[in-house]
Amino acid sequence: MPDREPYKNPIELLQGTLDLLVLQTLTWGPQHGYGIASAIRAGSRDALQVDTGSLYPALHRLEREGAVAAEWKVSENKQRVRVYRLTAAGRRKLTLERSRWDRLREAMAGILDAAARPSEA
């Protein structure tokens, strides 16, 4: 399937990637926004700083799309927090986004490797 998504804009690429990261994070269990951000940062060994200006819009958009569901819960330190969990639709989206990411990675790698080859020769 040819990829018709216009990944021209670096910001959109970022958004798409963020969706993937958020959905992946939620496969380990329901989590609030701050927890998601922390998990991504920790999981990438601090390489990825999630911009809150992108995270919350992404969460709310995913909620509207039905990929995640949100409910209010009381956290371990007795705070009311909004906790997001993955829905069935979210899992499907994750699979899709993931394959898209894989293809992108392969394509990128192909180009980058090809670019590297002449210098080897």
């Binding site: 910001i11 609030h32 926004g33 701050y34 927890g35 951000a37 922390s38 911009d51 809150t52 200006g53 919350y56 819009p57 969460l59 709310h60 958009r61 509207r64 209010w72 956290s75 330190n77 705070q79 009311r80 927090v81 909004r82």
Partner: protein, 879 residues
């Protein structure tokens, strides 16, 4: 879900979002405290990491999807917040808009009340005015005679009813104090044509027109003020000029006809015109009637017009002596007749305020563009965060609309105040002006104007901004010098447009002012200084001819004996007093067919009139007390009559016979004097042939007393009533004015037009100056670096000054040239309002251009001067 429920849903969600983000910040803070940071540092660091909370919330909210209403409200709230944050900009923009919209609302309310509002009768557009049209030597509408009216009524098929009417003034007798009341003598179909019946009693029936039937319908006002609103008035007789008239009806409150005459207090049947030895109703010579008709349903105006012209042509052939030259009929809606004279000036004023509004729009657009530069960064950020171009466009338009609506509301208040001023300064001759109030139509129009205005001045800046190149804007860091070039070109165009419109307005105003100046400097033919006047009307039943003469003799004696009165005399009708009596005459020794008899304006005067008025006696003598019925009939003519009918001849001793007599045949009169011309009809109307007849030889019940005084003529005005009452308390005194009041009233309309148009042109000039200043100040600010470098390279302050001023003048000059060209086309519309000034008067055009040039110079000089004061180091560091 209805929009309101959705709105409440949003409230909750907004609270939740607040809480969610608060929790995020708290958790981030807690983690930092756990890591050993102080609570204060932790909170600060967490907040820094989070970024702009407001912006994050906003972008997040945008993901929810919006109901249109909520979205508009949100945009509006954001816009309001933004406007509050820059109060200076907001105040200026709102003030400019309020001025523009307010002026439009005020003028439109007048146009609405006067021109657009239908007459207050059922199917009023079917009520037509019918006037004979004299086609030779010039086409002009005239009054109809009773026989003509009877023929029209009998022969036409286009009307359900047709009625005649003529104005009349009578003395209300039998009640004290007696009063002069104005009324209308109408034929019996009058109320049928109007489609209304009196509120009390009945209208007229065909029998009421028969001689001997004296019936009257009173106005609501007269009924209330003089008869205490007595419902038993029906069937009672009241005295008018000493005769008894039976009241058969009382008109509804607010009933007024004709609507362009104030204070019509009664309507009487035409029976009085059918009485006497030579009744008006059988005299085709005597033209005094206005005719109204109600068009039959299904008949077009054009068909009615064609039919009436056919009838007039027949009558012209049938009665050539009287009707030969009146062979057409002017058939127009009654409303058009009423407002005919004021339509052009009002539309001109409306056009002028429209121009002011356009300039206001251009100015606010300019302000918005200037401010836009400062907002580049904000907008770029919004776009980066995912707000689409259309989203930003809508946000910007919402802001303009808010500005326009606030400006419109302020303008409405301004219009209310302006309207009051307008009424105060109005010439008093604009019919129906009392209807110029607020009504739903005005509100709708104001709202519409505000919305259109908002879009007009908002769209261009918004389009420009929403297309802003992101990276460019962010790089420029809000200075906007590159994008500013495009902006500045656009702003220059706006200023050129403003200048052009202002020039058009200035030219128009200049023409009207010049025309008014010329009008004012016209010599009326008499000296209006220090002359008191008042009018009296003798009840005919009580005063026969001899007693009329005696009354005015006594009255003039008493007035003359007052201290401070130098001379006094009586005349009818008084110059500039709106009464005109044209009477045909024959010249002895020059017989002509009756239809070719010349006509001249008729005046009746007492001896001493010319001296009192300062009218020069060119040859011959004035009338004396001996010119009475026992003496040979005499007459004095004006210069125009001599010039027209006796060019180069000595007229003294020549005899003419005006067709006027009280009883019996008109007398042939010897010309005993020639006097200077007087502008009787208006300062701008050329003199026509006139003659004066001594009142002792042909007395009349109505006369105006004129008295030249040593000092302020108002002194006598106060005494007038006492003097007349000492002679006969039954004789009413009215129109107590100075002669100067008459002159002033006659030029009030052009004065009003010139004043208002000048006012609008002034506003336009100021706004244009501000606009030009804004553009130059901005251009200078943007070019600071360039200017400083120039100076560093040796440019003198004078060079910099010249550079900026030259740019300002170049803009203004372009606008002036375009404006003058446009004015050349537009001022032609003013032709009807101009007196002795050509619509393309070169002096006025040059003046308008120069005035604008001067303002442009001033507006350019300030920013130019500022540019020369830049401190190089400071300016460069500020970059």
């Amino acid at each position: 879900m209805n929009p309101f429920a959705r709105l409440f849903g949003r409230r909750r969600r907004e609270r939740e979002l607040d809480e969610e983000i608060a929790a995020h910040l708290r958790m981030a803070g807690e983690e930092r405290t756990a890591g050993g940071a102080s609570a204060e540092d932790a909170a600060r660091s967490a907040a820094r990491e989070f970024g702009n909370v407001g912006l994050v919330k906003e972008v997040t909210r945008e993901q929810w999807g919006w109901s249109t209403l909520a979205e508009i409200l949100r945009d509006a709230r954001y816009g309001l917040r933004l406007l509050r944050r820059s109060p200076g900009f907001t105040a200026v923009a709102v003030a400019v808009l309020a001025l523009g919209i307010g002026a439009n609302t005020a003028i439109f309310s007048v146009v609405n009340g006067v021109l657009l509002r239908p007459l207050p009768f059922p199917d009023s557009e079917r009520i037509l005015s019918l006037r004979p049209l004299v086609t030779r030597p010039v086409r002009s509408p005239a009054a109809a005679s009773y026989p003509d009216f009877f023929d029209w009524r009998a022969q036409s098929r286009s009307f359900t009813a047709m009625a005649s009417r003529r104005g009349v003034g009578m003395t209300l007798t039998g009640v004290t104090p007696s009063a002069y009341v104005r009324g209308q003598v109408v034929s019996s179909e009058f109320f049928l044509v109007l489609g209304v019946a009196p509120a009390l009693g009945r209208g007229f029936v065909p029998g009421d027109d028969a001689p001997g039937t004296h019936v009257v319908v009173l106005s609501h006002g007269l009924w209330q003020s003089r008869f205490g609103g007595d419902p038993g008035i029906l069937g009672r007789a009241i005295g008018l000029d000493g005769h008894d008239y039976t009241v058969v009806g009382v008109a509804a409150a607010g009933f007024q006809f004709p609507v362009d005459e104030d204070g019509v207090e009664f309507w009487m049947s035409a029976s009085m015109d059918a009485e006497g030895e030579k009744p008006w109703t059988s005299n085709r010579d005597l033209t005094a009637l206005d005719v109204i008709g109600r068009l039959k349903p299904g008949v077009s105006l054009a068909a009615a017009r064609a039919e009436m012209i056919g009838i007039a042509k027949r009558l012209a052939r049938q009665y050539p002596d009287t009707d030969r030259d009146r062979d057409e009929v002017l058939v127009i809606p009654e409303l058009d007749r009423v407002v005919g004279d004021v339509r052009t000036p009002l539309l001109v004023l409306l056009g002028a305020v429209g121009c002011v509004l356009l300039i206001a729009c251009a100015n606010v657009a300019n302000l918005l563009l200037a401010r836009a530069t400062a907002r580049h960064r904000e907008l770029a950020l919004r776009t980066a965060l995912g707000a689409g171009g259309r989203r930003v466009l809508r946000q910007l338009l919402t802001e303009s609309l808010i500005l326009a609506l606030v400006g419109g509301a302020a303008g409405l208040l301004l219009a209310l105040a302006g309207q009051r001023l307008l009424l105060q300064f109005s010439p008093g001759r604009i019919p129906r002006l009392e209807h110029a109030g607020l009504d739903p139509r005005i509100l709708v129009v104001t709202l519409g104007v505000a919305l259109v205005t908002g879009i007009l001045f908002g769209i261009a800046p918004a389009l420009r901004l929403s297309r802003t190149d992101l990276s460019q804007a962010l790089k420029e860091g809000g200075r906007g010098s590159e994008g500013g070039a495009g902006h500045n070109r656009f702003r220059s165009m706006l200023v050129i447009a403003e200048t052009a419109i202002a020039v058009v307005l200035l030219t128009g105003a200049g023409l009207l002012v010049e025309s008014f100046r010329k009008l004012q400097s016209v010599d009326p033919g008499f000296s209006a200084r220090d002359v008191a006047t008042f009018h009296t009307s003798l009840p005919e039943a009580k005063y026969d001819e001899a007693r009329q003469v005696r009354f005015y003799d006594d009255l003039l004696d008493r007035v003359r004996s007052r201290e401070g009165v130098r001379s006094a005399a009586a005349i009818f009708p008084i110059p500039l007093g709106d009464s005109h009596i044209g009477i045909t005459f024959t010249i002895e020794g020059r017989p002509v067919p009756k239809a070719d008899e010349p006509s001249a304006q008729y005046r009746q005067v007492s001896p001493g009139y010319f001296e009192t008025m300062g009218i020069p006696l060119l040859s011959g003598r004035d009338f004396t007390d001996r010119d009475d019925t026992k003496a040979p009939p005499v007459i004095i003519v004006n210069e125009a009559l001599v010039r027209t009918y006796f060019p180069g001849e000595n007229v003294l001793g020549r005899r003419i016979r005006p067709g006027v007599a009280r009883d019996g045949e008109p007398k042939t009169r010897e010309i005993v004097g020639v006097v200077g011309n007087v502008r009787h009809r208006g300062l701008g109307v050329e003199e026509s042939p006139e003659y004066y007849i001594p009142y002792r030889q042909l007395s009349i019940a109505d006369m105006t007393v004129v008295a030249r005084t040593d000092a302020d003529p108002r002194v006598l005005a106060n005494d007038a009533r006492a003097i007349v009452a000492s002679l006969d308390p039954d004789v009413p005194v009215f129109r107590v004015r100075t002669l100067r009041d008459y002159v002033f009233a006659s030029i009030a309309q052009p004065r009003f037009n010139a004043l208002l148009l000048s006012l609008f042109a002034g506003v336009a000039l100021v706004l244009t100056g501000i606009g030009l200043y804004g553009v130059l100040a901005y251009a200078v600010a943007v070019r600071t670096r360039e200017i400083v470098i120039r100076m560093a390279l040796g440019a003198r302050r004078g060079d910099i000054l010249a550079m900026v001023v030259r740019r300002g003048l170049a803009l203004a000059a372009t606008g002036v040239v375009i404006g003058l060209a446009a004015a050349l086309l537009v001022t032609r519309l003013l032709r009807a309002l101009l007196f002795h000034v050509a619509p393309s008067d070169p002096a006025t055009f040059a003046g308008a251009g120069l005035l604008l040039g001067a303002v442009a110079l001033l507006a350019s000089f300030v920013p130019a001067y500022r540019a020369t004061r830049f401190e190089p180091m400071q300016a460069l560091r500020g970059e």
